[in-house]
Amino acid sequence: MFKRVNKLLIDLPTPDYGDANAAAAVQELLGGRFGEMSTLNNYMYQSFNFRQKGKLKPFYDLVASITAEEFGHVELVANTINIVGKGSSFTADPNQTPLQNGKDKRNTHAFIATAQTALAGDSMGHSWRGDYVFSSGNLVLDLLHNFFLECGARTHKMRVYEMTDHPTAREMIGYLLVRGGAHILAYAKAIEMATGTDITKMLPIPNLDNRVFDTARKYEEQGYGNVLFTWNDEGQYKDIRQIWKGTNPSNGERLIVKEGAPKGYEIPELDALPEEFAPGIGPEEYEMIAKRLLSNL
């Protein structure tokens, strides 16, 4: 089961300007075939479906603990989309067409269906699909798939980075390039444990260092890519240290397993959008709600 912590993995910058078309591009990193919803659901189903969890515990622990991290990545990308997506409408009477800019933005659906927030789909508005999940049950095949999935995710992040310079999008991508790099290495090491084949020699794919990206550099320098968390406070999933050991081939630094989760940062607040009737609670309704909530406590 899962326990939820009301924190975001990084301190996302929240500038006063948005770019709805950039938010539409960032959707690919959430609900695209190589987005965070795919990494989450792949590892989640693989961990549920894992055969011989006891015998192959370090591998099970790896897939299971990374699942929890991916949940936080979905949360991070969704929050990024919500921040980047702002500033395309204005507050006015419906007859003044306050959503008029929405019809010329890439993601019209976000203006109509989600009040300018994230949707479970890709940059072209296609829904995220369950058949993006690969869970063959063959350990080596699943690990190889996960390695490939993370390399694809890294490629897409780099391309979206090249499409937008919005500070929120770039901060998120910088961080996720580093964490994604750690996951690529984790699956490469797991494949080495399972088969004796060292595929870290292929890395990085694509062949450029994370440090090329301005917002990834500080996370690299602070060693974010050398750590795997267990995402558990009861001593579970610790056997990932039988896989996550030795040094990181990209920087020669020691690989570390940390128990628990990182401390996290505040979840950004989202303003009301009266022109979208979201949340649709004005001062009068709020007063009535407060009365009901506080009565008979």
Binding site: D16, Y17, G18, D19, A20, G87, S88, S89, F90, T91, A92, Q96, N101
Partner: protein
């Protein structure tokens, strides 16, 4: 022969936009720019740009990029 030619500065000016916007300085306005709408308080109007304060941050907008303005 080497004497440099003087560079002539050409500037577009929308006199009536400039004048009208002066009348709403300090008001809460929406400016539709060629890119995005901006919603905030009109702080200043100069011949070629205006300053709109949005959540405490000044945005300097070229008058040439303004499509329409409405007062809230």
């Amino acid at each position: 022969m080497n004497e440099q030619q003087g560079v002539e500065m050409v500037s577009s000016f929308d006199p009536y936009v400039y004048q009208t916007l002066h009348g709403v300085v300090g008001r809460h306005i929406v400016i539709q720019t060629t890119k995005n709408p901006l919603q905030g308080r009109l702080k200043q109007v100069l011949p070629d740009h205006v300053v709109v304060e949005v959540s405490g941050s000044p945005f300097y907008v070229r008058i040439q990029e303004i499509v329409w303005v409405t007062v809230q």
